[in-house]
């Protein structure tokens, strides 16, 4: 397995661009911020990358933030709360977009898996070692993106398949 060269700065740049395009329509710059707290209740999206490099990219946001992100992406107005399934889909899609852009920095060939969404990191990443992370903030809430490398020779946890 090839050693990856993705850095925290790469992940921060990608996440900032994704947020500015997919979530906040060009005005949602994500500044470096605090880490999500365990007590917040997290929504975790993850995509597996496999091939010349093997691991995952995960996105962790507090559930309340995930709801606001979903509302922004869907263009919901008037404080209408998004359905739980829509929140899971939006978090999975953001993880997918971030993961796809991280994959472009990794050795080829690699394949991007379908996104999985859970409320716990352990449900989607098993025995990976954290390669790098970016701790950001959006709308006064913490957003964390991490890149995990699989230990050589192990089979990643498939998690549950997202939409």
């Amino acid at each position: 397995m090839t050693t990856a060269v993705v850095t925290a700065a790469d992940v921060e740049m990608i996440t900032t661009e994704v947020w500015g395009s997919a979530v906040a329509a060009g005005s949602g710059a994500v500044a470096t911020g605090a880490r999500p707290r365990r007590g917040d209740g997290l929504a975790v999206g993850a995509v597996r990358i496999s091939g010349a490099w093997d691991g995952w990219v995960t996105l962790e946001v507090p559930v309340a933030t995930a709801r606001r992100v979903t509302a922004a992406m869907l263009g919901l107005v008037g404080g209408e709360p998004p359905a739980a399934a829509d929140v899971a889909d939006a978090v999975g899609e953001l993880a997918n977009i971030i993961g796809g852009n991280v994959k472009s920095l990794l050795p080829a060939p690699c394949t991007l898996g379908l996104p999985v969404v859970a409320d716990d990191l352990g449900a989607v990443v098993e025995r990976g070692s954290e390669l790098c992370r970016a701790d950001l903030s959006w709308d006064d809430a913490a957003v964390c993106v991490r890149v995990w490398q699989s230990p050589e020779g192990t089979t990643p946890n498939q998690g549950r398949e997202g939409s």
Partner: protein
């Protein structure tokens, strides 16, 4: 109902909603499918094929590349403009999609303006209903 139709194919309902909103702003009547096979089934039901299909790459059941290859084999669907809208950004992937018959390629994430610009270049941005 608009007389210009598009088909949005993406396994993410969020991404479908984003694309549908943008296409409706341009006056499109929009069909949706969650994967390639569902999109093929939908096309079979149409008396006239849509002018445009946006196609995600990584989807369950049938991926976007297979969908493009299948559509290109069917003469009655030759008039559909196929635009890949995907996170797959490697040069080799783009070449594969274009070689399979996709007309254009848009990498996620994208700003709405970039999507409209692509449609303009393809001659498929008919009118703006609501700016």
């Amino acid at each position: 109902m608009s007389d210009v139709r598009a088909l949005v194919i993406d396994d993410s309902r969020t991404m479908r909603a984003v694309l549908v909103r943008q296409l409706q702003t341009l006056g499109y009547d929009v069909l949706q499918a969650g994967h390639g096979q569902e999109a093929l089934d939908l096309l079979e039901e149409q008396a006239e094929p849509p002018a445009l299909a946006t196609v995600d790459w990584n989807m369950p059941v049938m991926d976007g590349l297979t969908f493009v290859q299948t559509v290109r084999k069917r003469p009655q669907w030759r008039g559909i403009t196929l635009m890949m809208v995907t996170t797959e950004s490697e040069h080799g992937q783009i070449v594969r999609a274009l070689a399979a018959g996709a007309h254009d390629y848009l990498i996620k994430p994208f700003l709405p303006e970039a999507f409209v610009e692509k449609l303009d270049l393809l001659g498929l941005a008919p009118r703006r209903v609501d700016a």
